[in-house]
């Protein structure tokens, strides 16, 4: 049985909107297991992204505990969280968020050099990973605005995994991609997962969710459904889709 890598206890997150307190996450208990590809789904405004940012140390909860590898992180200062993130988390954003003024390779290295110091090793690792995602040597010197959406997201994934994070977080990584690019990107996620990478991803998309081993459904700030699937494979795709669709329908999706 896989061990727990991330756990929340009575997690709460609220925002003040015009003086009115909006409780987005309410007393949420959750456990993420090592090696799982967890997808969080839910309707708009259900708190998916908020939960993801809280779990990844991008944002602080108002109450409750977050235990990462058994260590509480909810009380960390912003700078402690930054240090925590650089060592443990990788993040793939819906809008990619590559640094405009840096080349593909520099974007990847910017994320890596803060953690690792051996530049030569990092460069070769970055290039290897970029190549694995389908990018070519000549793309490495390109700037983000010279890349297609899919290419940019692949760079984003490499940047997120270059430090071998304990968990890879992804917020709607295919949300702005066409279907062909989406498939390429999801294939990368599947490959990474098969190599043992724990992944927590937020998505609206059924095709994306199909890649998961576990689907959590969020409603009104709490987990209302937890659906498990075997590791993704093309062979049982139909059965997999049916099962997930049924689960989601049950959840009111």
């Amino acid at each position: 049985m896989a061990s727990s890598i991330l756990k929340t206890e009575k997690l709460c997150k609220s925002f003040s909107n015009g003086g009115v307190q909006q409780h987005v996450i309410k007393n949420l208990d959750l456990e993420i297991l090592e090696g799982d590809f967890t997808v969080i789904m839910g309707s708009s405004g259900s708190g998916k992204s908020t939960l993801l940012y809280a779990l990844s140390g991008m944002d602080k909860p108002n109450m409750g505990k977050i235990l990462f590898d058994g260590k509480e992180i909810q009380g960390f200062s912003n700078d402690e969280l930054a240090v925590f993130r650089r060592g443990n988390c990788g993040f793939v954003f819906q809008s990619v968020y590559l640094l405009d003024n840096q080349t593909v390779l520099d974007n990847v290295l910017t994320g890596a050099l803060i953690v690792q110091k051996n530049n030569a090793e990092l460069v070769s690792k970055a290039k290897e990973l970029l190549k694995k995602t389908g990018l070519h040597e000549e793309d490495f010197k390109k700037y983000p605005n010279q890349l297609s959406g899919g290419e940019a997201q692949r760079v984003g994934i490499v940047r997120a995994i270059i430090n071998d994070p304990k968990i890879l977080f992804a917020d709607e990584p295919t949300g702005q991609l066409n279907s062909a690019s989406s498939k390429d990107v999801l294939d990368i996620f599947s490959d990474v997962h098969k190599n043992g990478q724990s992944i927590v991803m937020v998505t609206h998309d059924l095709k994306t969710a199909l890649r998961a081993t576990r689907v959590l459904y969020l409603r009104d700030g709490g987990i209302v459904g937890d659906y498990r699937m075997p590791v993704y494979g093309e062979a049982d795709l139909k059965e997999r889709r049916n099962g997930l669709t049924k689960f989601l329908e049950d959840m009111g999706w």
């Binding site: 940012y53 991008m58 944002d59 602080k60 912003n78 700078d79 930054a82 240090v83 993130r85 650089r86 060592g87 988390c89 993040f91 954003f93 968020y97 590559l98 640094l99 405009d100 003024n101 840096q102 080349t103 390779l105 520099d106 290295l109 910017t110 994320g111 050099l113 803060i114 953690v115 530049n119 460069v123 010197k141 700037y143 605005n145 010279q146 940047r159």
Partner: protein, 839 residues
């Protein structure tokens, strides 16, 4: 939507930046307004005060024993002078006075009686004691009103003149409006009773301090004093130029307002630094804002707004911020008029009753606003370069197709430094503006620091630039006394570190020059401690001379040129071997070797010793020790003789005079005497009292003349230092906070990648450092040259750059810039990474 609402929104959103711009324009307007509204006032204040005194515009003072009636005739016949007046006056050179606080200060003073004063001017009295009280005063004097204004004297104070070891206290009856002879740079004219005048006439009888004849008249601007002196020389059949001194309206005005004008120039310089910074910042911020709000611009354009209308939004924003600052600056300039008037009054020593110059203030305020409008308009027009499609795509600017500067692939070392340098090189275009600001502000800071350091010990710095060994006492010997023997004895005194034999300087005529010279003579200039050639070297042979920088500049002569000197009709040619930055005697001093001086003045014999104190020994203690050792100077003895009232003193005085005669006529070198009645020794003494003729020191007069200026300059430069530091902080804050706002998404991404706020703040601070460091380096060079020009223009001397202070200030400035930038980037901390990315 009304376009100005966008301006208001931006102002509200960027309150601190708007306040920063307003602050800079406020400072600019304030400083420029002070200059514009007071420049004229300084001019007119002097003129009005001079006019109110009813003074003639010219006075020529001639030593009484060199005076000829022909001098009057020349003025009346050759110069058609009407209403020429003549009167007696005593010139007291570098004479000690016990100040109000009990301390000793030295002044150049002119003593006259009321009758003579009324020939010179109207004797308009100011504050005074009641007439009934004045009538009962034993020794009343009237002081120039500057004593009341600057030195804080009040009627009834005691003004004590120290001469010959005696104190001569006078009661200040009151003050009077003074035309000529009213400042530290020249002389102070003091009015006394006939009896006191007669007493002083017997006290002051040296070649310099002596009774003189004054000729008073209105000569106008064109009077050629040099030509007049030549005519007097002819009429007297001897060179009387060294015995004549010229006082006139122009010199008096220059003495009193030169420093004020220099301060005004410094204020203009500061104002310009601030204004350049303001304009650059406005430009930088508009550019940033446009880039930042590019999509918003695109939307507005898509909705049908013309680029001109959108440009106006930025224009309004900066005109509002800058305009508020300028108006506040103008108002402040008017409000502080009394303080400025007080400052001018203190610097000039004359009453200032000027208006607040409101017209000038309004003009400057409008001018500042106009320039801000023009500058903002020019930059805001940049909007038209972005049609909707480009604007919606965040402009072409954000697209990079250029060379990857400093690729991380090849980078070794600290990643924060690497990313900072990468960011710095990617924004090379904005470097120029930041550089201009840093260079301008850095120059002002470094110049202020150097000047402040120079004046930190008040006049000590100036004393070191005199071009003479000032921290010494000059022991003038009685004629016939062997200086070598005195030197040996001096060296036995514990307070004495060194003694150098020299000549008592004599005034020397310089052929082809209207500036006579005063010679400083050393056997070997290696023995001097503060005399060093700025260019060339000190004289070593008897046909070599070193001159002051002022003479070099005004007469266009320098190393390698020849000059002909003349004393008592004997002319000798000398080769100029060096130029020295010298304040001594207004920079007219020449430096000769002992042989060189004796070649010109072969009657002269070394009769003076320059005595250097041991470390930590005050000059007054040194003088006391020397006086104690030698039993007092002959000069003191003469004073005592005059004041002797009882029989013992009269016997002592008569004995000492007899001994003095024996010494000078018969070569008696050592003699003790005693008057004994029964077993009691009533009077005793020795001949050593007559070894020393007089002990003098330059330090006192320099301190008196320069202390107020030194302190004012010190205060001013310190204030400037603080002000510019605040300006630098505001500039860097505005640049940095603008950068953080503009790059908030990138910074958010970086935070997401695990960079802490401190990492990012370090990167932002480091990013500015290359510009800051290069800017400081350029500023150091500029400050060095400005310092040279400042001292050259002010005193015709060479500024000694204190490299330690320069380096320390450079480092402090660099650290200051780093810290200000670092903490200005602190905004990053307040925004969570989530907000940074999703904002």
């Amino acid at each position: 939507m009304k376009i100005w609402r966008l301006s208001l929104f931006n102002l509200k959103k960027n309150k601190r930046e708007a306040i920063g711009i307003a602050f800079l324009t406020l400072v600019t307007t304030l400083m420029l307004s002070i200059v514009v509204s007071n420049q004229k006032k300084i001019d007119t204040a002097f003129d009005e005060s001079f006019k109110a005194s009813g003074s003639v515009d010219t006075c020529i003072r001639i030593n009484k024993d060199k005076y000829h009636d022909a001098f009057r005739t020349i003025l009346e016949k050759d110069y058609k002078v009407e209403r020429l007046q003549e009167g007696r006056m005593i010139y007291a050179d570098m004479t000690d006075v016990r100040g109000r606080d009990g301390g000793i200060v030295s002044y150049n003073m002119i003593f006259v009686v009321e009758k003579v004063e009324r020939k010179m001017e109207s004797f308009i009295k100011g504050d005074q004691l009641p007439n009934s009280e004045i009538e009962n005063l034993e020794h009343p004097i009237w002081l120039p009103s500057s004593f009341e204004i600057v030195k804080g004297y009040v009627p009834g104070d005691i003004f004590t003149v120290l001469k010959g070891g005696k104190e001569y206290p006078f009661e200040v009856a009151g003050f009077y409006e003074t035309g000529l002879m009213s400042n530290d740079g020249g002389s102070f004219k003091i009015i006394m009773t006939e009896d006191d005048y007669d007493l002083f006439a017997t006290l002051f009888q040296s070649s310099i301090s002596a009774e003189c004849i004054g000729l008073f008249f209105d000569a106008g601007e064109d009077f050629d004093f040099e030509q007049y002196v030549n005519k007097c020389n002819e009429a007297a059949s001897e060179n009387v130029s060294l015995s004549m001194t010229h006082y006139c309206y122009r010199y008096e005005k220059e003495n009193e307002i030169t420093f004020l004008e220099i301060f005004m120039m410094m204020i203009i310089f500061l104002a310009m630094v601030t204004f350049v910074a303001s304009l650059f910042l406005i430009r930088h911020k508009i550019s940033n804002d446009i880039e930042d709000q590019m999509q918003q611009i695109g939307v507005l354009e898509a909705l049908g707004y013309r680029s001109k209308e959108i440009s106006l939004a930025y224009l309004y924003e900066y005109v509002l911020a800058g305009g508020c600052g300028a108006v506040l600056g103008g108002i402040l300039a008017v409000l502080i008029t009394p303080i400025v008037n007080f400052g001018i009054r203190m610097m000039m020593g004359r009453n200032v009753v000027g208006t607040n110059g409101i017209f000038g203030v309004i003009l400057i305020t409008l001018l500042v606003i106009l320039i801000v409008v023009l500058f903002a308009l020019l930059k805001a027009r940049q909007v038209k370069n972005y049609p909707p499609v480009i604007a919606l795509r965040k402009g072409i600017k954000t697209h990079h197709f250029g060379k990857n500067v400093l690729p991380l692939e090849r980078y070794r070392g600290n990643v924060n430094l690497g990313l900072a340098m990468k960011g710095f090189l990617s924004n090379a275009k904005s470097i120029v503006g930041v550089m201009i600001c840093i260079v301008a502000a850095g120059t002002a800071i470094l110049f202020s620091a150097l000047t402040f350091d120079f004046f930190k010990d008040d006049t000590k710095g100036l004393i070191s630039m005199m071009g003479t060994d000032t921290e010494t006492i000059h022991v003038q010997l009685m004629s016939g006394v062997d200086p070598e023997q005195v030197k040996e004895e001096l060296l036995k005194i514990p307070e004495v570190r060194k003694a150098v034999i020299t000549h008592e300087g004599t005034n020397i005529s310089v052929k082809g020059s209207s500036n006579d010279a005063y010679a400083t003579v050393f056997d070997d200039f290696a023995n001097a401690e503060d005399i060093w050639a700025y260019e060339g070297r000190c004289p070593e042979r008897d046909d070599e001379v070193m001159i002051g920088l002022r003479r070099s500049r005004t007469e266009g002569i320098g190393v390698g040129d020849a000059m002909v000197l003349e004393v008592n009709g004997i002319e000798k040619k000398y080769l100029i071997t060096g130029v020295i930055g010298s304040l001594h005697n207004g920079g007219t001093t020449i430096y000769l070797t002992k042989e060189g001086y004796e070649r010109l003045n072969y009657h002269a014999r070394a009769n003076m010793l320059i005595v250097y104190p041991q470390k930590g020994v005050e000059l007054k203690d040194l003088e006391a020790a020397v006086t104690k050792h030698f039993g007092g100077s002959a000069k003191d003895a003469i004073g005592e003789n005059l004041e002797a009232t009882d029989l013992e003193a009269k016997v002592k005085a008569a004995t000492e005079e007899k001994i003095a005669t024996l010494m000078m006529q018969y070569g008696v070198t050592d003699l003790d005497y005693a008057v004994q009645v029964g077993d009691q020794q009533l009077i005793k003494g020795n001949s050593r009292g007559f070894v020393i003729k007089e002990i003098t020191s330059y330090e006192g007069i320099i301190k008196t003349q320069m202390l107020p200026i030194a302190r004012t300059t010190k205060g001013f430069t310190f204030a400037a230092l603080i002000l510019i530091a605040v300006i630098v902080a505001v500039i860097l804050y505005l640049i940095t906070s603008g950068d953080v706002r503009r790059q908030r998404q990138s910074l958010g991404i970086m935070k997401g990648l695990g960079y802490s706020s401190k990492d990012l703040m370090t990167q932002i601070a480091l990013k500015q450092m290359p510009v800051v460091l290069v800017g400081i380096l350029i500023a150091s060079v500029c400050a060095y040259f400005i310092n040279q020009v400042f001292w050259g223009a002010l005193f015709a001397t060479i500024a000694e750059t204190n490299w330690l202070v320069m380096i320390f200030t450079d480092l402090a400035l660099a650290v200051f810039c780093y810290l200000v930038t670092y903490f200005s980037a602190g905004k990053i901390k307040k925004i969570s990474v989530n907000e940074l990315m999703t904002e």
